[in-house]
Amino acid sequence: MDFALSNEQRDWQITARKFADEEIRPISLARDAIPTARETFDWEIVKKGSKLGFRTLAVPKEYGGHGTDFVTQALVMAELARADSAISKTFSQNWKWSHLISHACTDEQKDRFLRPFVADDTFLLGKGISEPSAGSDNRLPPADDPKAGLKLRAERKGDEWILNGEKCFIANAPVGKLFFIDARTDPSAPLKQGTTMFLVPRDTPGFRIGKVFNKSGWRFYQNGEMIFENARVPHANVVGQINGATRKAGGGGDDTTGGDIFGDLELCANALGICDDACQVAMRHARAVKQGGRYLFEQQIVQLQINKMYMLTEALRSFVLRVAWEHDMKVRSCNAGLAMNFSTDVVQQVTELYMDVRGVEGCVMDHHSDKLVRDSFIWSHLAGDTVQRMKVARRLS
């Protein structure tokens, strides 16, 4: 066993830490405090991060990206999230879908989409799956209800597909330039047999973005509605097989990882960053603030709380890096899903302990601890946390 990082991995980690400390942290709380969901976003930080490679980290070198391994990606996500979880997610969301482009798209599509993505610092990616009446049904389609799941309809007309319907909660929708869209191409077939994936550019006629969701956590991260009214998508934008959306990424099974399973690593690595931040600030606070004339840290009960925070965080770090390593080694397992489930529990426990260590000053709660608790709350709501747990159990079986 060898836990040492390579020089390249360490370089990326240090670059990310520096960018996080110098550029992200100074804007994090101010962005979080902006009351209007649409206005929390900041293109400057995206451009700065893009120039350092954080937008295109996962694009293969042959297409002008950085072609980093999964361990590097996990390290960078955690470092960025240490300063702001939502800003880290805004960058890594692009990696998820650039993985998918590299694995599932044709060379012609890669030329058409991956190259402009790499060239443009403001080019962000997203994927539309959820719909107002189809959330968990897309993750765990019920055997006894073949009609369940997404309803967005795509019908072929000559060289084009006509899309009608809507998506909701879609990450990067309000700011993205290109989206993968899952649409029903055979409404009589169950979800898995009747869904096709399309590449839909932002300027597609008949496609527009609706409202931006006003979340309590991850405020910087933009989740929006997508509305398709006779949107016209060229046939050349079909990804993979018609009615084959769920067989994307060329792998099936436990892909390692063309897209979706990267999302599991992404969430647990991001959670690790929040935990690192919480541990560091809790320790600093406990050793700087006095109560009754003595440092908070002198209290046994505070030491026990901080111990628990670090213990959980280090356990999560081990799990995250093992999963990243397994992805690099092309090991097929359910560990990514389990690590994601674990990270939900850990990130919420650690941030709540942090809030407890801080407590209110006067009668005001520190903004930073409030933000971390709200950000970590999001984990219970991502793609249906309970559903993800059952899904992993079914994969294990």
Binding site: P35, S130, S133, A134, G135, S136, D137, L140, P142, D144, D145, A148, C168, F169, F213, N214, K215, S216, G217, Q291, G292, G293, R294, L296, E298, Q299, I301, V302, Q305, Q348, M355, D356, G359, V360, G362, C363, V364, M365, V373, F377, I378, S380, H381, L382, G384, D385, T386, V387, M390
Partner: protein
């Protein structure tokens, strides 16, 4: 302390049985249902509008506060012959839970006013003071009460002083000095004062030069020299704020009797305020639970309403378990406030039942609110649905005042029978 309790209970109209009895009286049920009706039909439609859900900006709907006052909620525990309902603590807790199921902040505001009314008008005032202040309070729906007893930077937590004598601290800096005309000139600052922004009368603790003990003065908030600044975004249920006294001239007759400080301290020790806060907390958890149940019955995924899936069904069951156990603890704590004789004859353990209920309820209601939010899937994190307000409010309950860490230290001292020396060692 027991004497005072008896004095109040003689006036109680709505009263539980002397035996431990969970059968609410007809009057208790009636008032609970009246408040529930008010919350469902009048309060919720206003306070759950999207623009009022933002945690940073919750202005008080004053017309509804007036209405709640007219229902008698401001004077709920005030004795009957003073114009109140003379409700006992258990009744106050059931009413507070109902009100909090609509809005925690409004419930906390009324609970505080009603609690203070019972103390201030119940034993602290001379007849002349009564005649002056009671009409000001009783006849004005907008006259809430506040107790200004905390000063900026004062740290009252137990913390490092667990099981140790607390070093003497001269913690009251607000001063009431005699003026030439025989009245008082008050100078000082109090903060984290619950109800301050809506109070008509404020009781304030101040040092009186030449006297060892602090005095308690009642001051009308429109007195020149008194200003209130609301704490924006405070982690507190209901409005709270900073009260500044700058050469604030107060009539001599506003100083309450010397026993007032002890009456207030006894009320604090009794845990009455704590039990009310946990009733607020129960209301928050129940509102979250009811919203989750409604949604789980409507929302169809996996071919059936999600309530019919085991994963969601058991989540709802977990919430119900926490609510019921917490309510049992809070009711018992409330009943114990009403029946000190049950401690005396060892029917109840001599542990601080209100603090025990607090530790359990605060943690359980936060978990309940989180679970309830999860039932809503992605919608559960949106600021424009009530669920986020409930989750935030539950966090405020857990972390807004002292922490459960502190509360457990107090329980631990009680378990061991630790008695802190009344006067701490000044020089060591």
């Amino acid at each position: 302390m027991a004497e005072n309790k008896n004095r109040y209970s003689g006036n109680v109209k709505v009263q539980g049985s002397i035996m431990y009895n969970l059968h609410l009286t007809a009057e208790q049920l009636e008032i609970r249902d009246m408040v529930r009706d008010f919350v469902t039909h009048e309060l919720k439609p206003v306070v759950l509008k999207a623009d009022r859900l933002d945690v940073g900006d919750r202005s008080l709907p004053m017309a509804l506060l007036d209405k709640a006052s007219q229902l008698g909620l401001r004077t709920l525990s005030l004795a009957e012959d003073h114009g109140g309902a003379g409700a006992d603590q258990l009744t106050c807790c059931t009413v507070t839970e109902e009100l909090a199921a609509g809005d925690a902040g409004i419930a906390a505001t009324f609970a505080e006013t009603s609690r203070l009314a019972k103390i201030l008008f119940g034993g602290a005032m001379t007849d002349a003071q009564h005649a002056r202040f009671l009409p000001l309070f009783a006849e004005n729906d907008r006259c809430h009460l506040a107790l200004a007893n905390h000063e900026p930077g004062n740290d009252e937590s137990l913390g490092v002083n667990y099981h140790r004598p607390v070093p003497a601290a001269d913690d009251i800096k607000t001063v009431a000095a005699r003026s030439d005309d025989g009245g008082w000139i008050v100078n000082g600052v109090k903060d984290c004062v619950a109800n301050a922004p809506v109070a008509g009368l404020i009781a304030v603790a101040a040092k009186i030069p030449g006297q060892a003990d602090a005095g308690i003065l009642v001051i009308q908030t429109d007195t020149p020299g008194l200003s209130v600044r609301a704490h924006e975004g405070a982690w507190h249920h209901g409005p709270c704020g900073e009260v500044t006294f700058k050469n604030c001239r107060v009539p001599a007759a506003n100083l309450l009797g010397g026993e007032t400080a002890e009456l207030l301290a006894a009320d604090e020790r009794s845990g009455r305020g704590n039990a009310l806060m946990q009733a607020v907390n129960l209301g928050i958890g129940r509102a979250a639970y009811e919203a989750a149940i409604d949604y789980a019955k409507l929302r169809v995924q996996g071919g059936r309403p999600i309530a019919e899936h085991q994963a969601i069904g058991t989540k709802l069951a977990d919430i119900a378990v926490k609510l019921e156990v917490a309510r049992a603890a809070v009711w018992r704590a409330a009943w114990a406030c009403d029946h000190p004789e049950a401690y005396a004859d060892r029917s109840l353990s001599d542990l601080p039942l209100q603090t025990i209920a607090q530790v359990f309820t605060r943690q359980a209601m936060l978990e309940a609110a989180k679970d309830a939010a999860e039932v809503f899937g992605a919608m559960g994190v949106m600021r424009d649905i009530p669920m986020q307000k409930y989750a935030h409010d539950a966090r405020v309950s857990l972390h807004g005042s002292d922490s459960n860490r502190e509360a457990k230290l107090r329980i631990a001292e009680a378990l061991l029978g630790y008695r802190r020396p009344a006067l701490a060692i000044a020089a060591e």
